[in-house]
């Protein structure tokens, strides 16, 4: 067995760093295959979430809106029930 010299420790450290870099690179380059444009777009859509800020902003805007004469949900469900 070879003695544990500073040079050997450095080589070992470099090998570990190289392995980590390769692993990181492989993760970023995972191959995907889509049978159609629609499938690709659906995948893209699933990865794209609306920013949470929209919901917060909307809550604020709705509070400032004049209330509908009757709850729009009540009207919606009434129409749907017809």
């Amino acid at each position: 067995m070879e003695p544990d010299t500073p040079k050997r420790r450095l080589q070992h450290q470099r090998r570990e760093e190289q392995a980590a870099e390769e692993q990181q690179s492989a993760q970023g380059r995972a191959a995907l295959q889509f049978d159609s444009v629609e499938e690709l777009l659906r995948y893209d859509a699933a990865q794209t979430a609306p920013p949470p800020a929209i919901a917060e902003r909307l809550q604020g805007s709705l509070r400032a809106e004049p209330a509908p004469k009757r709850s729009w949900w009540q009207r919606l469900f009434k129409k749907a029930a017809r």
């Binding site: 295959q33 794209t48 929209i54 749907a80």
Partner: protein, 192 residues
């Protein structure tokens, strides 16, 4: 693939617009937003190609939906109605932008002459920048093709609903869709 329907009646299948369900009042708005906001935001994002603008559009669409329920006659699904508001809003934003900038979008005739094998699968190696690549690809297509592809990608919409949203017949949608897919495939490979 979608199965074409002849009626414009609302789609109320389980998991889509379950209008019969009536949770607590405050929860209804949240449920509507959670069910549809992802689709509205994605359509807006890919139509205008700008995250901040898409955020504004999504906000405005739901605000308009809240204020304009009187115009929702239940003849279409809630998703279709929200998409119609989104498309109109995106067109307004795009028109305002085009007035200030010179734009060069591809026209359909150019793409019609391009040969491509649309049966080949689309292969993606670099996932990290996939969204940007898709955006660049869509931006290179005529607006009509872009919108058709984005709408047809939503499995909740029938060809009839896509036809209604794009103001043409379902047969015209099928014909143009074939060309739109081909154009996308060619451009997507170029952008890779």
């Amino acid at each position: 693939m979608h199965s074409p329907v002849v009626s414009d009646e609302p789609v109320r299948a389980a998991g889509t617009d379950s209008l019969q369900a009536e949770p607590a009042e405050s929860g209804k708005w949240q449920a509507l937003y959670e069910q549809h906001s992802r689709y509205v935001y994605y359509l807006a994002l890919r139509m205008v190609g700008d995250a901040a603008l898409a955020e504004d559009i999504t906000h405005d669409v739901f605000l308009k939906a809240y204020a304009g329920l009187d115009r929702f006659r239940g003849q279409a699904s809630l998703r279709t109605w929200l998409y119609r508001i989104t498309i109109n809003h995106c067109h307004n934003v795009q028109r305002a932008w085009q007035r200030r900038n010179i734009i060069t979008t591809g026209d359909a005739q150019t793409w019609d002459t391009v040969a491509a094998n649309t049966d080949s699968p689309l292969r993606v190696l670099e996932i990290k920048e996939l969204g940007q690549r898709i955006q660049r690809t869509l931006d290179a297509l005529p607006d009509e093709y872009k919108l058709l592809l984005l709408l047809v990608a939503d499995e909740n919409l029938s060809y009839q609903e896509v036809a209604s949203l794009t103001e043409q017949s379902a047969d015209a949608v099928r014909g143009k869709l074939h060309r739109a897919r081909r154009a996308f495939a060619v451009e997507f490979q170029k952008q890779g």
